[in-house]
Symmetry: C2
Subunit: 262 residues, 2 copies
């Protein structure tokens, strides 16, 4: 059981993509000890950040981590989890944390494959490199304490976000997915639609149009994998897509009817 | 010819709706002299603002105006213009200005019916009671000097907006409509779609989703007449509606194809 006198954690990151790098910067600032592994070779960047990088998952697991932080893409979760050598875990009571933008899918999948002694915290920081670039104050951090026995490690991990001023939102994975389908997935979809339309600033932008241009630009900074993952692994997303289509057809119908009236 | 030593104008407003009231506040502040007429009875409000209100168009035109400012809805333009007693104009060289959110339509219509001696300035302030509530600095003001012989009155009218810090954008009515279809009409359409979907803030809004909730709330503050007018009287709007539909279907197709790949 981890009973270190300090509050800092030893955190092993799996998947050192854009979001992991964004989180790592703050974790390092807070004094936590990081290691990382990923599909691609990020040694150069990690050396620059002072983070030991492991090309192989096996050697990565030789380190003694309080927390294993899953930052891999939604679409690659099962593949990545399949490659985790759980038998090599130094401590069976390791806390596994995921930050995937959908929640029921990693929750159900991890509950199936994690060693019974391992704790599980499923989280979704509702911000990223764009929205969180000026600090995390008041930005929502959603989490579900799926299986927690080691209260100390779990609360020390949550403290990372509390310290930065996040609004801590305890919520079941299912409820998260319902709200995220209506919120984040819809927002990304509109951003992707605007990107297909190739909308651009003109000399006469209204403030409303400016926000749409900004939304489009922010959306395409996230990977297409992330967007597809929001749809494919959230059972509520298909319905929101239909709702969007229906709403569009309703608005179009109102316009055409008005045209015919005249 | 108007050669008043002061810079203030006598402006007669036709159509005292939300936008006219918004403009009037600033015109009064700048010291201009206003009168108003409208379909509905706005006497009470106008008394409160110190603006003589005329129930009848005929008596409205007895006043000696430098400028007649058309602030009526796009959908009611032809009806309202039909009711204007041009023969009663005190000065044939009156400057007619419109602020409709589409431009070719009022331009073509007014050129047909205005007395040949009357000047015509077609404008579109690209802001309103919401976006312009903290001042007009840097907000675009689009205008087309369609028919100007009295330079002095025209520039004194444009000065109203220049004084407030607007970005003055001279542009043909046709180019305005092209850009407005892609910009403002698209933005309103997305706002209307989000309103149909009844999207609401949750405890876990991303910043992107928050901007969409705000967009929806701002959009529905404008009348449905305004929105329908943006579509029905802009020849480029139908194509943008099709572009939006195509872009949606393309994004949906990408998601479904990705789903089938897996
Ligand atoms: N971006 C955000 O603002 C944000 C916010 C909240 C949560 N999230 C979540 O955080 C996670 C990471 O997001 P992200 O923005 O960094 O981008 P992402 O494209 O969702 O994920 C990139 C990461 O996934 C790894 N990966 C992708 N395909 C893989 C495969 N087949 N096998 C192994 N690894 C694979 C990449 O490894 P390599 O780099 O080694 O190639 C990289 O580390 C996602 O689950 C996302 O939903 C993101
Ligand atoms: N709202 C904005 O932010 C904004 C920005 C730029 C330009 N504009 C343009 O400014 C104009 C006015 O816009 P708005 O926001 O005030 O709302 P609107 O709904 O477009 O227009 C309302 C005005 O139209 C009059 N009207 C409507 N139907 C009429 C009819 N059948 N006969 C006579 N008058 C009729 C109303 O008269 P009563 O009030 O007497 O009923 C009212 O004065 C529109 O052309 C709009 O495109 C608006």
């Amino acid at each position: 059981m981890s009973s270190s006198p300090t509050k800092t954690l030893r955190i092993g990151i799996i998947g050192f993509g854009p979001f992991a790098r964004f989180l790592a910067a703050t974790m390092i600032k807070q004094g936590h000890t990081l290691t990382a592994t990923s599909r691609s070779d990020h040694s150069h960047l990690c050396t620059h950040l002072g983070i030991p990088f492991f090309r192989e998952m096996d050697t990565f697991f030789d380190a003694d981590n309080d927390v294993i932080l899953l930052c891999t893409s939604i679409l690659s979760l099962s593949e990545v989890v399949r490659s985790i050598p759980f038998h090599r875990l130094k401590r069976q009571t390791t806390l596994f944390v995921d930050v995937l933008s959908v929640k029921q899918y990693p929750r159900d999948h991890l509950l199936q494959v994690l060693p019974p002694e391992s704790d599980l915290l499923c989280t979704h920081p509702m911000f990223g490199p764009e929205s969180g670039k000026d600090g995390w104050t008041a930005l929502p951090f959603v989490y579900d304490r799926v299986r927690i026995r080691d209260e100390d490690t779990c609360s020390r991990f949550l403290q990372i976000f509390q310290t930065e001023g996040c609004r801590m939102v305890a919520m079941s994975c299912e409820e998260h997915d319902q709200l995220a389908a209506r919120g984040q997935f819809l927002t990304h979809t509109i951003g992707r639609i605007l990107s297909e339309m190739e909308i651009k600033s003109t000399g006469m932008d209204t403030k409303g149009f400016q926000t749409l241009v900004q939304l489009k630009e922010n959306t395409i900074k996230d990977s297409l994998d992330l967007y597809c993952g929001l749809f494919m692994h959230n059972k509520f997303a298909m319905q929101e897509l239909r709702n969007l289509e229906l709403a569009f057809l309703t608005v179009k119908q109102k316009l055409l009817e008005k045209m015919e009236d005249k």
